[in-house]
Symmetry: C2
Subunit: 439 residues, 2 copies
Amino acid sequence: MGNFDSIMKKIKNDSVKVGIIGLGYVGLPLAVSFAKKGIEVLGFEKSTKKADAVNAGKNYIGDIRDEDFVAVVGSGKLSATTDFTRLRECDAAIICVPTPLDKFKKPDMSYIAASCEEIGKCMKSGTFISLESTTYPTTTEDFMKPIIERESGMREGVDFWLCFSPERVDPGNKQYKTENTPKVIGGLGDEAQKIALALYGKAIRELYPVSSPRAAEMVKILENTYRLVNISLINELALLAGKMDINIWEVIEAAKSKPFGFQAFYPGPGIGGHCIPLDPFYLEYIAKGFNFDLTMINAAGNINNLMPYRIMNKIMYALNRQGKAMNGSMILFLGVAYKPDIDDARESPALLVMEQVARKGATVLYHDPYIPEATDEHGHRYVSVELTDKAIADADCVVITTNHECFDVDRIVAKARLVVDTRNAVKRVHIEGDKVFKL
Amino acid sequence: MGNFDSIMKKIKNDSVKVGIIGLGYVGLPLAVSFAKKGIEVLGFEKSTKKADAVNAGKNYIGDIRDEDFVAVVGSGKLSATTDFTRLRECDAAIICVPTPLDKFKKPDMSYIAASCEEIGKCMKSGTFISLESTTYPTTTEDFMKPIIERESGMREGVDFWLCFSPERVDPGNKQYKTENTPKVIGGLGDEAQKIALALYGKAIRELYPVSSPRAAEMVKILENTYRLVNISLINELALLAGKMDINIWEVIEAAKSKPFGFQAFYPGPGIGGHCIPLDPFYLEYIAKGFNFDLTMINAAGNINNLMPYRIMNKIMYALNRQGKAMNGSMILFLGVAYKPDIDDARESPALLVMEQVARKGATVLYHDPYIPEATDEHGHRYVSVELTDKAIADADCVVITTNHECFDVDRIVAKARLVVDTRNAVKRVHIEGDKVFKL
């Protein structure tokens, strides 16, 4: 039996063994989804701590239900290892590693490259390889394939197959999880596509096949570029609205009453998380290779980059109204998670604002029930303080940077001397009360 | 009884008389909506032809049902006049005139100004005045109010009331018409807001009150800026995708499979119609008065402005593949309406492309079943030709510029020598067949 028939048969009778590289917020939920359907999954992690946690049945991802996790580890369907040579046990390898940007907004492909090298060195003939990490179009064909062929001495389409299938994980989303979010599938060639559809079909309810890996790569970038551009647009309009004595939050709610052709986005101190501030810049990077300048992404990026400074200015203006300089003031930030009700502070704009405010001589404190401690870009470490009445009243200014549901906004406004609200947490139409300043 | 109590009583017992200034695609449907509910409407038009048509019961707006129109004219509830002194008969005046941009993208406020002058000269004390024309925030308070006070010698809030309530007409929309599209209401002051809600509530099913005219003005601009920015973004990505051998249409359809956080927009030869290419630039205009540069709108405007030239280039590249120069070729454009299945060619990008192609020496023809003749920006007049097999086969290139449902695309592709498809009318994934070139 040839490689193709062999893997298709294993998928059909649930004897396929899936390796998942990277057990973070993408890889681990996917691993659980396969394991729940009776597919054996071996997770690969550089972090011994994470691998040990998985093997001990200790769930560390909020979007996975603990009982599901315990069940699949208990049944032996899910285990983890730090030994990448065990890739040779797997029929399929799914890469779920991060693709950060470096300080110069150049994609850092080192995690994908390392995964491809490990796979190339260790895999057996007939392995199906899928990349889920967001990256620029052409990565699967022009970046991954040469590394794997070089390391393995095998040939794509004959000895192994390639696919790109973007993760669409929205941390904290109550309705859409890995299993019920439609998944875009871009196999390289017909056989890869057939294997991909058969394999992912085991774990994911709805698949959306496209004609190539590069189309699938572009899909993910389009989704997140759309979000970056629209958040940046509303941030820019919010700044103008402030000058024109218009409450942008009221305007957005009213625009939402249009039953067609509008989707609401909200302003804030900048854009955080692992996707929206990064993904569009992969595309900007590769576009330059095609002598193409993406002016919309560029403009959006500039607005986003400036927001922490604009918020710092707003805080300074608010203090100034009360006759205070920022230098020497005590500023309490509420929320450093990049969105409400999650425990993730990656790329959090709150930290960027805190850093700027500290540079201007203020004493900076923060409270976030989900983030006990946080470190800014320059390594300064902050520890969350308790949100006592005294802490609120002692601060010269309280800045609401994340709109966690658990914040008692009425109490905060009542106790505070001055509030700068960057998230419309204080539901009032008029922009500036005596002590509440809104973005 | 004071002015306020008097108009509120008239609204309550349906004896209020409403004047509507401008009987175009906004004013006439609104007039019919009021008249259908038994409110007497007097329409004001500069065009004798339009006023006569209304009085003869001849409907000229596609979104109005003929039987509704005949009924309200027949019952005497709707009539029209060119005599603006008859504004004194009205208790309310609703302005539905155009606000174009001049060649330098400066808002042309002359229609609004003229309407305000007529109202100021003719109105009786106690008139409620509402503006529906899209315009920059602050227009109602800072532009309209002084003109009306000057011309009338009356005082806003005492002798007359002001309101801004943006039209949301989407020509050709089968589901949402004037009556069932929620309407944003921004009265200036409490009395104006109460009158506005009572009056519009007679004709419109759902009202959405906001705190001020300027908020209402901003709502409309936000809605259409959102559309301009997103169409421009996808146009820019489409141009890049073409260079990267990615079919942007396939990518958009796949991105739509994401069940949250995405709304699809489609590329094309540019943005047409009376709203989206114009409205954001009102905001850009007023923003400059606040020393504010709207970089997203600016970038979006640039992309949109360049699209007709990019499409002209695509046509030239396509001809070049077949060894032909544009100079001396015959090019047949299909569709000059700015969107499918409507009879409106205002700001149509097709005409801009046609103009550029003609300048390069091509013979330009077009066919559009909805637009028997069309005139480009420089006054060149075109007449729609019949879409015979011979006309298709004779053209060196057929360019699909509007995706009218009635176009038989299979037949067009079969008969044509070369097709440039700017609207994904030809449903194929791969970008370039032997003779089909896609945007």
